[in-house]
Symmetry: D2
Subunit: 498 residues, 4 copies
C-alpha cells in the first residue's frame, strides 16, 4: 500500500513511526496511508529551510520569479495527473478539480510579477542631503497549514508568493488528501527550486504544534475551521510570530425582488452545491426579500436541482462528488435532520442519494431547505455540505441585519439590478468579500482573500498584494554621506526638519 511521505530538502522521505489511512471517499476504501511526521521530522524540515535561506534570499527576485514561470508550465502540463490525485482522495469531479487547480495557477502567475511587487519606496532628500528608502525583505522560514477541501489551490495561495519573496517554506497540508499537494511541491522542485526552499510535512497536531512553537518559524498562514484558526492565531502569536488564520463561513445571498431570477438560480446552483458545498466560499444561505421572490426562487431552484448529478469523479459528467469522510457525511445529514426537526421545510432532500456502484461512498445529494430561521442549528453553524437554506425576510435592511449578526463574515452576495441597492449593500455589510450578482466572490489572484469577523484572524489577507506584505518585513534605511568640508554640530533635540 502506498505510503505518502514528506518533501524535505528536495527529497521525499518517510518517518516510519506513525501513519494514517487516506480514503477514496467515492468508494469508502482506504487505498493509501500517509506518514505522520514526528516533531523531529518537522524540525528537519525547518532546518532544511533555514539552511537554504541565505542563498535563496540573495537570489535576485527576477531569478526567483523565473522558477515560478517554469512552475506554471509544469502545473499546466501535469494538470490531469494532479486532478486525478485530487479525485482519488478528495472525490472532486475533474472539471471542478481543474477549476481549483486553475485558481491555484493564477497565484503562481501573480508570483511571476515579484520584481514589480517587491519594489520598495524611495525618498530623496528627506532632509538636506539625506535619502531614505524602505525595502521589503523576506522573513526567513515560514509555514503554511492547509485544509482538505482545496489540496491544490490553498497551498498555492501561500507558498508561491512566500517563496518568490525570498522565504523558505514548510507546508503542512491536510492528511486527508495529501498526494496532490506533495506532487505539486515536487513539480516546483523540478522547476529549478534549490533544495530546502520548499518542504512538505504531512502530519497531525504534533506537526502543527512543532511549527507553532519552533522559534525559527517566523510566520504562519492557516486556512481551516474557526476553532482551529483561533488556536493557531493565539499560539503562533504567543510565540512571537506573525500569523494570519482564516476560519469558517456562512455565506448569504440576498435575492432582491428585482433580481434576474433565472440568472440568480443558475448562479446559486453552482455556488451552493459545487464541490459538495465543501468550500469556505460556498453559498449556503439564500435570503429572499419578500415572499414573491422567495416562492419564485424556491420553485425554480427545485426545478433546476432535478438536473443535478452527484457521483464519483470517475464520471466527469457528474456535477459534484462525495463528502470527505463518513463522519462528515453523518454530520451534514444531522444538520438536515435538525432543520427538519426544528420546523424547516425540506424541499429537495439529498440525504439518501442513489449512486449506483458507489454504495459505500460518502455521498449527500443536493438539498434545498425553505423556511429556515436564524435560531436553527443548521443556520447558526457551518454545514460544509451540499445544502442550500432559504430564509424569508421583508426588507433588504432585515436581510443585511441577519448577515451582520452572524459570527462569520467571509463572503456574501446580492442579486439585484439596482445600482443603489448594490452600493449600499457593498458599503455597509460587515463581510470581507462581496458579490454583486456574483455568488462566489472569491477575489482574483491579484486581489487578496479574506473574511471579516470570526472568519479571519490577523491583519493581512491571503494571497495577492497582502501576501507580499505578509511574507516580507519592512527595512527602512536612512542615508547621509558626510562631506569632508562640512562640520555638523551635535544635535540633542529630536532631529526634525525645520
Amino acid at each position: 500500500m502506498t505510503l505518502v511521505g514528506h518533501l524535505i530538502n528536495g527529497r521525499v522521505v518517510t518517518d516510519g513511526t506513525r501513519s494514517q489511512a487516506v480514503f477514496n471517499p467515492a468508494t469508502g476504501e482506504a487505498a493509501k496511508q500517509v506518514d505522520l511526521a514526528s516533531q523531529a521530522t518537522v524540525e528537519q524540515a525547518i532546518s532544511a529551510a533555514q539552511a537554504a535561506f541565505p542563498g535563496w534570499r540573495n537570489t535576485p527576485p527576477l531569478k526567483r520569479a523565473r522558477v515560478m514561470f517554469r512552475f506554471k508550465e509544469l502545473l499546466e502540463k501535469h494538470a490531469d495527473d494532479i486532478c486525478a490525485l485530487i479525485g482519488e482522495e478528495h472525490g472532486k469531479i475533474a472539471h471542478d478539480a481543474l477549476g481549483e487547480l486553475q485558481r491555484g495557477i493564477e497565484n503562481v502567475e501573480y508570483a511571476c510579477g515579484a520584481p514589480e511587487l517587491l519594489k520598495g519606496e524611495h525618498s530623496k532628500n528627506v532632509g538636506p542631503g539625506i535619502d531614505s528608502w524602505s525595502e521589503f525583505q523576506p522573513l526567513g522560514v515560514v509555514a503554511g497549514i492547509t485544509p482538505f477541501n482545496f489540496p491544490a489551490m490553498v497551498p498555492l495561495w501561500m507558498f508561491p508568493m512566500a517563496i518568490v519573496c525570498g522565504n523558505c517554506f514548510v507546508l503542512k497540508p491536510s492528511e486527508r488528501d495529501p498526494s496532490a499537494t506533495l506532487y505539486i511541491a515536487q513539480l516546483l522542485q523540478e522547476a529549478g527550486l534549490p533544495d530546502g526552499v520548499m518542504n512538505v510535512v504531512n502530519g497531525d497536531k504534533e506537526a502543527v504544534d512543532t511549527l507553532l512553537h519552533d522559534a525559527r518559524v517566523e510566520a504562519v498562514s492557516f486556512v481551516g475551521s474557526t476553532p482551529i484558526a483561533e488556536y493557531i492565531y493565539a499560539t503562533a502569536t504567543a510565540n512571537g510570530k506573525r500569523c494570519q488564520a482564516l476560519g469558517g463561513a456562512k455565506n448569504h445571498a440576498i435575492v432582491m425582488p428585482d433580481a434576474d431570477m433565472d440568472n440568480a438560480v443558475n448562479q446559486l446552483v453552482g455556488a451552493a452545491f459545487g464541490s459538495s458545498g465543501e468550500r469556505c466560499m460556498a453559498l449556503s444561505v439564500a435570503v429572499a426579500v419578500g415572499d414573491a421572490a422567495a416562492d419564485a426562487l424556491v420553485s425554480r431552484m427545485q426545478e433546476a436541482m432535478t438536473r443535478l448529478k452527484v457521483g464519483s469523479c470517475a464520471d466527469s459528467g457528474n456535477d459534484f462528488g462525495p463528502l470527505i469522510t463518513q463522519a462528515h457525511r453523518e454530520k451534514v445529514v444531522g444538520y438536515i435532520d435538525s432543520a427538519e426537526a426544528q420546523g424547516a421545510t425540506i424541499v429537495v432532500d439529498g440525504r439518501k442519494p442513489q449512486v449506483a456502484g458507489y454504495e459505500e461512498g460518502f455521498f449527500v445529494g443536493g438539498t434545498l431547505i425553505d423556511h429556515v430561521t436564524p435560531e436553527m442549528t443548521s443556520y447558526r453553524e457551518e454545514i460544509f455540505g451540499p445544502v442550500l437554506q432559504v430564509i424569508r425576510v421583508d426588507s433588504m435592511q432585515e436581510a443585511m441585519a441577519l448577515i451582520d449578526a452572524h459570527e462569520y463574515g467571509n463572503g456574501t452576495c446580492i442579486f439585484t439590478r439596482d445600482g443603489e441597492a448594490a452600493r449600499y449593500f457593498s458599503d455597509n455589510i460587515k463581510v470581507g468579500m462581496v458579490g454583486i450578482n456574483v455568488p462566489l466572490p472569491v477575489p482574483v489572484a491579484y486581489h487578496s482573500f479574506g473574511g471579516w469577523k470570526r472568519s479571519l484572524f490577523g491583519d493581512l489577507h491571503a494571497y495577492g498584494p497582502d501576501a507580499v506584505r505578509f511574507y516580507t518585513r519592512r527595512k527602512t534605511i536612512t542615508q547621509r554621506w558626510p562631506s569632508a568640508s562640512v562640520r555638523e554640530g551635535a544635535e540633542f533635540s529630536m532631529p526634525t526638519m525645520k
Copy 2:
C-alpha cells in the same frame, strides 16, 4: 492639587476612585495627581467611540483630513504650551520637546493626505463583464497604549492616522506624564472632531486589560518595553484582535576605520545622550572596528562630553534633563556600577552629576564606558539612560555578528565613507531601521517605524504607509451586472478564467 482626568465623548471627566502622583523629575516633587480609570470608565470611552463610529466612517475622507489640517495649525500655535507640559512632567528640555512635537506633527501632516492614502485597487474585466475592486474600510474602535518617553510624539504616531482612516480611538497614555497628551487630544477636539471619535483614558493595568479584553476593540497599537509588548501582543491576539506591539532596543553604531570621526562623534553625542537616552532609538553602543578607531572615538567623545550640560528644562541651554523617576535613576546607576564591577572602564562618569538648585532631581550625567563586552549585564539589557558603551572588535563582520546576536533589532547605524560597506551592512543586518552615517535612523513620517526580532511583534510597522493598512481592513467587491438577454449556465466548477 491638579487632578489629570480622561477625555471621553468630548468632555474631560474623572473617575474619582483611584489616583497616582505625577512627579516633576527635575525637582522630585509630586505636583499633580492623575486619575486612574476603572474598568467602567474605560468601557464608557469604548462606548463613546463605538457610538461615534457610524457617523465618522461615513464622513468623506477629505472632510476627515480637513480636521487634521486644522489640528496641525493648532499644534503649531500651542507648541510652547505643549512643550511646557512635557518639561514639567517628563523633564525634557524645550528644544528637545519641540523636536518631539515636530516629529509628531509630521504624522498629522501625513494624515492630511488620507484621500490619496485610502485609494483602493480597481480591476476592470477580471472576467468577461466582471469588475472587482478592493476598498480599505475602517475597523471601528481601536486603541493605543503609549509610553512615558514621548508623551506627544508616540500618541501622534497612532491616533491621527487611525482617525483619518475613519476609526474611533481610545488612547491610554503613560500615567507618568499624562498632561501633554490630554492637552493635545483636546486640541484635536477643538479642530472640529465630533465627540467620541477621540478618547483618552489615563490609568494602569486595569485600564490596559479592559482594552485588551473588550470585544468592541478591534485593534491595539502599543509602544513600550519588550516584556509588556509580548504580554499585549499575546493577550490582544488571544482575544481575536489585530495587534502591533513595539518593544525595547539596544541600538549599535559601527564606527569603521574610514569614518569621518569628527562627524561621527558629533552625531553620537546627540544620539546617545539626547533626552537622557530615554529613547527607543537612542544609540547606546558604539562598536569600533580596530583599536585605532576605538581610541580616536573614545578620546574625542570624552573631549566632546566636557561640554554636555545636564539640568532642568527651566534652562533651555541644557542639553538634556533628568530621568523619569527616582527608581529609574537608580536602575541606570546600577547598570553603570555593574559594568564597572564586570571590568569595563568608566571613561566619563555621570553617576553623581551636580545640578545646582535641583538636588532632589532624578539626574544622571552623560556616561561613557569603554571596553564593554557582550557578556556584561549593561550590554545585554536596555539601560534607557545617558550611557554610551564602547565595544572594540577586529572586523566589520564581527561587529555585525554582535548586532545580529542581540535580542533586539530596532535601529542601528554605520559610520563609513565606503559605498560597499554601507550596502553590505544595510542589506544583511537583522535590524529594522538602519542608518548610514545617521545615528538615529527614525524613519520620516511618510515611511514606517518598526524594529525586527524582539523589538516588534506584529506584521505592520507603526505610522506611515503601514499604519494605513493596520487601521483599515480590506473589502473586495466583485460585480457583474446581468444582461437580460444572456442566460448563463450554472457553473459547478470553481469559476476560473479559461
Copy 3:
C-alpha cells in the same frame, strides 16, 4: 485707473508699453487695465525662475510641502477678497466663485502630500549585488497658460503641484480677469516661497509665444479652446518640450427612461446654467431616450427654470452672472438664433434677459432648446453659454453613438438606476470623465482631469497623480559597489540576468 502688472522674482512690476482694458461684465465698464508683457518681460520671468531653480530643487519636499500648508491657510483666510476680484472681472456670483476657489484649494491640499507623491521605486538585487531605483526629479522652469473662466481654479490645478515637485513656474493667466490670479500668486509668496519660484506674466500672444519658444521652458500646461490647444501642443512639442493642452467640450447627459427625473432635473439645472455655462465641464446637451423621457424632462426643466435668477455678483441670491465679454454674448445669442433658424424649438428663451440696473451687462438668461439635431451648428460647436439643448433618441445605443461621434470627449453623464446600463456606458463611451447620475463629473483633486479625443492633447491629465508625473522626470540609477576581492570579466554581450 488700476494697472494690473506681473509678478516676477517676488515683486509686482509693469512693463509699461502695451496694456488692455479689463471689463466688469455686469456693468460693461472697463474699470482696470492689464499690462501686456513684452517678450523681454516674459524672459525676465523665465530668468527669475531659472535662477531660483537650483535652490528650490534641493529644498526637501517636506519643506516645500509646508509652503503649501501655509498657502492653504492664506487662501482660506482671504477667500472673500479673491471671490470679490473674480466677481468684478469675471462676473461670477460669490457662491460660485467660492466653489471655484474651494476646488482650487483642494489641489493645494493634494500638493501638501508631496513627500508621499514623490516616492520613487526601489529595487533590490536587480542582479547579484546590484540595486536600482527611479527618482522623480523636477524639470526646471515650467509654464502654465490658463483661461478666463476659472481665474482661481485652473491656475491652482497647475502651479501648486509643479512647485511642490521642485519646479519654478511662469504663469500666463487670462488677460480678461487677471487680478484674482495675481492676488493668489502673491499669497503664495507670502506663504514663504522663495523669490522667483512663482512668476506671473499677464499678456497676449506675444507672451504665449515667448513661453513656447524659449528653450529654458521645459514643459507647458494649457487649458482653453481646442484650436488654441492644438496650436500650443504643436508649437511646444516642435520646440522639444513636453506639453499637455486641454481644449473644448460638448458634454452630453443621457436621460434614461428609468432615471429619477426630479433628481436629473435638479442636477441638470445647475450643471447647464451654473457659471453661465462658461465651464469646459458644463452639461450642454441632454439626450433623452424615448419621447416619454424627453417630454417629462423638458416640461420639468421648463418649470424649474422659472426660478433661475441671472444678475450681478453684487447680489449673492443670483444663480449666475453675465458672460465674459460683449462679443461672447453676441456669439452665444447667435447660436440660439441659428438653432431656431435650423428648426429647433426654443422652449425657454434667455436672449433678452431683464437685469434691472445692469442694462449694459453682458447677460444671457437660461435657455432651453428642444428638438435639436446633430447637424445643427449649435450642436456641433461649443457654445459656452447658459444654453441646454435637448436631443431625442430611441435607444441608449443611439445616444452613445451620438456622443462618440462628437469631436470632443471631455465629460458625459448618464441618469439611470440600472447597474448594467451604467457599467456599459462608462466602460464603452469615448469620453474621459464620466458621471453616473453626476452631471458635472469633475474628478476630485486626488484623481486627474482630462478629456479624450480633441478635448486633450498629450498623454498625462491635469492635476492629481498625473500632474506629479507631468511635472517630474524619471531618473533611474543602477548601482553596484565593487568588491575588491572579486574580479569580473568584461562582458561583451548585452548584460542580462541568466
Copy 4:
C-alpha cells in the same frame, strides 16, 4: 532570393512594388530583399488593427497576459533561430544577440503582470454617497518605429506592453535587419494572439509618414537618432497624437582617482566595444579625473584591448562583429580620422582590422583615443562605432560640467568607491540613466528607459511602468446612486466638499 514581407491581420504578405537589399554585414553581400510597404499597405495594417481592437480591448487582461506567458515560452524555445537571423542581417555575435533577446524577453515577462499593472485607483466617498475611480483603458491602434541596432529588443520594449494593455499594434522595424523582428511577431501570433492585433510593416519614409499622418493611429513610440526623433515627435504631435521619441546619446563614464581600476577597465571594454558600439547606451567617452587615473586607465585599457576579437557572427568566440553598412563604416572611420586630425592621440587604431575570410565585411576594430577635447567633432557627435575616447579633467566637478554641457543625456556612469561622490553625481547629473560602477545602466524591464535633454522627446519613458501609462489613457468615473427618498436641490456653484 528571399523577399521579407509584412505581417498584416495574421498573414505575411508582400506589396510587390518597391523593395530594397538586406546585407550580411560580415560578408558585404546582399542576400535578401525587403519589401517596402506602400501607403496603401500600411493603411491595410492600420485597418486590420482597428478591426481587431473592439474584441481585444474587451478580452480580460488576464487572458491577454496569458498570450504573453506563451509568447515567452516560444521566444525561449526559438532563441537560436532568432539569434541566427540577427547575426545574418545585423552581424551581432550569438552571445550578444542572445543578450539582446533576453533583455527583450524580460519585457514580455513584465507584460505578464498586466492584471496588476492595469489596476486603477478607487476612491470611496469622494462626497457623501459618491464614489470615484480611474481606469486605464487602451488607446486603440498604436504604432512603433524601431532601429536596426536591436531588431529583437527594441520592438519587444514596445509591443508586448502595448498589446497586453489592450491595444492593437503596427510595427515598422528597421529595413536593414527586418527578419528577426518579423519572426518574433509570428511567434506572438502562434502564442494565440487574434489576427490583426499585431502587425508588422517593413518600409521606409513612406511607411513612417503614413503612420504619422493616419488619424486612426493614437500613439507613436520611436527609437532612433535625434534628428529623426525630433521629426517624429513634431509630426506625430502636430497630428494630435501622443508620442515618445528616443534619440541619440553620448554616454560618459567618470573614472575617479579612487576607482577600482581593474574593475573599471573590465567594465568599460564591454560597454564601449560590445555590439561594435552600435548601442544608444554604449559607453563612448571616459572622463578621467586627474592624469594619474587617466594614465592608468589608458594603459590598462590598451592592454585589455589586445585580447579583443572582431569578426563574423559565424565564430561565437568573437567579441563583436561588423558595422551595419559600408556607409556607416566609412562614417565611423571618418570620425577617427577627424579626431586624429584635430590633435587627439590614437592609442589603439581599429580602422583597418584584419578579418580573414571577411575582407568585404563592414568591420572596424576597437579603437581607443586619448587626449580628446570637447571641441572635437568626434566628441560633439554620436559615433555609433567601437570607439572609446578619453578626456582628461582635473576634478569631478569639471567632469560633470562636461556631461551636462553635452546635448545628449541618455546614460552616464561613475567609477568610485565613495558614497558621497556617487550620491552627488547621481543626484545632480542631467542624464536620465545613471550607473554607479555600472557602465551600461540600462534599467531593468520593471523600471523604465529614457534619457534627458535631446535624447528623449515626450514625458513618459520606454517600457516598464511608464509604458503602461503611455499605452493607456485614464478614464475617471464619478458615481452617485440617487435615493428615491432624497430630493437634492440644484447646485449652481462649483460643487465642492464643504
